[in-house]
């Protein structure tokens, strides 16, 4: 592993099959290096037996190391060559990009279909649906944070604060005032959006690193308040017995005196899976709504203004755009989605405490957005799957789980330094792409 990542890049040639020997040579060299390293580390082994220590030889392991590195290096080189062959100058890429766009759209619809059908596939069990629900929460949070970080370009390290605000507002509203989930959902969103504005005001003039530090502090403030305001939030004990969601007033319980339950109303036998399924579809709808909103708003003036603000704030001002309003609206919108996700989280868990809203959560959500390629909706789904889904599935790996997590991150950043899907899709486009332009007249291409 170390040899492949630290060695200089494999040779690149595009002039026909003649490059094959040089690739083989390069891969062989890497393999030999790996074998040399492996010899002392893998080739010899001390065996502790009754007669004391004895030396054992494992040269087959060295062979395996050689073969693995040789094959891996060769595969990387071949992939790189194939990739370079396809790469063409920026100006000629119009058709290719629109092709990529179609492909992404198709992939998006396929993902939606897969998500809708997932509970009805034979592999689906309670555990899987539960994990998929968790994954979707992170997808939704990623999509929400994407509005702030990806579109408006405001680096927010305290996003989990709004998630917490949403969760606590639902819990408190439903416990103290007996409001239903459906009533609390918009309220939680509104509360979180208000907090977004509150955070927005003091940080309007900050950018980049400074903004990140202040938002980080804000996230911690919210957590510490939740931890210490015992009377209202229950402090470190959290809030428990939060009302579970109902299907438009029909609870998911075996029997409730004086009330029709879900299974009675639909004449189904009672099953605890109903609630799991309901939660799954609920978060799916919430997440898709977030996505739809983002896709739509990018075509509206306000969404375009967010993106322009990310590109160049000074230019925006001189075009008559009010940066204060634009930034605050981005903060509020992003926070609102976190609020929705938070109240969903509270109703799903039935118990919340400040433990669930630590900085690590903010960091993971931000990592999802950044690894996905800032601004890319599908990229966020992929990276949420990678960062949240896989570690959940590989819980059996125990202590190696975080190692795999870190390794995955390093690999992504090596191969896709700007995120999994990094190219920004234009919001409008002519029906047909313009044909490749004729070369510039002499003297005009003076500056790139």
């Amino acid at each position: 592993m170390a040899t492949t990542s630290s060695a200089p890049l494999p040779p690149k040639r595009n002039d026909g099959p003649a490059w094959m020997p040089s690739l083989l040579k390069d891969a062989f060299a890497a393999g030999v290096l790996a074998a040399l390293l492996a010899l002392p580390m893998l080739g010899f082994r001390l065996v502790d037996s009754a007669q004391g220590l004895s030396l054992d030889y494992r040269f087959s392991w060295v062979g395996i190391a050689f073969a693995a590195v040789f094959a891996g290096r060769l595969a990387i080189s071949l992939a790189r060559n194939a990739w370079d062959g396809r790469r063409r100058p920026m100006r000629e890429r119009g058709t290719e990009e629109s092709h990529g766009l179609r492909l992404r759209k198709l992939a998006g619809w396929l993902m939606v279909a897969a998500a809708l059908l997932l509970p009805w596939t034979p592999i689906a069990d309670r555990n899987l649906i539960d994990k998929a629900t968790l994954l979707l929460i992170y997808v939704m949070l990623g999509w929400g944070l994407n509005v702030v970080v990806g579109l408006a370009g405001l680096l927010d390290l305290g996003y989990v604060a709004f998630y917490a605000v949403g969760a606590y507002s639902y819990a408190l509203l439903s416990q103290n005032f007996g409001l239903s989930f459906w009533l609390c959902l918009p309220l939680a969103g509104a509360f979180a959006a208000t907090f977004g504005m509150l955070l927005g005001f003091p940080v309007l003039r900050l950018r980049g690193d400074y903004l990140a530090i202040v938002t980080l502090g804000f996230g911690e403030i919210v957590r510490v308040v939740l931890l210490n305001w015992q009377v209202v939030t229950g402090g470190p004990n959290g809030l428990s017995g939060i009302q579970r969601p109902s299907f438009f007033g029909l609870p998911f319980l075996a029997a409730v005196p004086g009330k029709t339950t879900f299974h009675e109303f639909f004449g189904l036998p009672f099953s605890p899976d109903h609630r799991i399924l309901f939660l799954y579809y609920l978060i799916l709808i919430l997440a898709l709504a977030t996505n739809l909103f983002t896709l739509r708003i990018r075509r509206l003036p306000i969404g375009r203004a967010w993106e322009a603000l990310r590109e160049d704030e000074t230019a925006c001002r001189s075009l008559g755009i009010n940066p204060t309003k634009t930034k605050l609206s981005a903060f509020a919108t992003g926070a609102m989605f976190a609020g929705f996700a938070g109240s969903f989280f509270a109703t799903r868990q039935g118990f919340i405490s400040p433990e669930s809203f630590t900085f690590l959560e903010s960091a993971i959500i931000l990592a999802i957005v950044v690894l996905g390629g800032l601004g890319s909706q599908i990229g966020i789904v992929l990276s949420a799957f990678l960062l949240v889904g896989l570690p959940e599935w590989f819980r059996e790996l125990q202590q190696y789980r975080m190692l795999a997590f870190g390794g995955a991150m390093v690999l992504i950043m090596l191969w896709r330094p700007r995120g999994l899907l990094s190219s920004r899709e234009p919001t409008v486009r002519l029906g047909k792409t313009p044909k490749a332009p004729e070369p510039m007249p002499a003297g005009e291409g003076a500056t790139p």
Partner: protein
Amino acid sequence: MLSIRNLQSGYGRIQALHGIDVDVAEGEIITLIGANGAGKTTLLMTICGKPRASQGEIVFEGEEITRLPTFQIARRGIAHAPEGRRIFPRMTVRENLQMGAAVTPPQYFTDDLDRVLTLFPRLRERLDQRGGTLSGGEQQMLAIGRALMGRPRLLMLDEPSLGLAPLVVRQIFQIIREINREQKVTVFLVEQNAFHALKLAHRAYVMVNGRIAMSGTGEQLLADPAVRAAYLEGGHPAAEETEEAR
């Protein structure tokens, strides 16, 4: 249209403008020339409200705009194509132009877009291309086009010829003249390329160390020996070459 009286401004404790008086009448092309660091860009930026004027006043169409925030000044009808163009590199040409029209009523958009694209046919070819992939000349065209999308009455251009080949510079100046004549937009032009800029100007100002040193019609300044010595002779091959050509 625009009148500036005793304007002082600067960055922090460093004062860059020491009492500037400039007048721009409707329909004119006004050129401001001066050496590097004379304060030309600072003057344009101060008109836009950033940095703020420490003293003096700026009156646009009878309204004092000295203390307004930048975006409000822009909404009054002053468009600013800033130094270094500052287009949105990751957005397409079309999206850049849409941003230019961000605060104009949407019913004008189609006509305005068509007008700008007629003015800059090259941008029409590049509508769906990212701003950052355009050549320098095209980016400058985009910056001017974007400014025009806001239907300004006063267009302020900060060194539109910066870093461009002579041929493109001539094109750009030709278009500025067209904008002024046909679209009745008043132009306030800041330039280092004194020859072209003065030929274009109805009136012009020369700025030295944060003060207006000289003013007059474009021809007067072109003929002035001091101006010729400081801004035209030597180091301006483009100017000489065109003079020989005629």
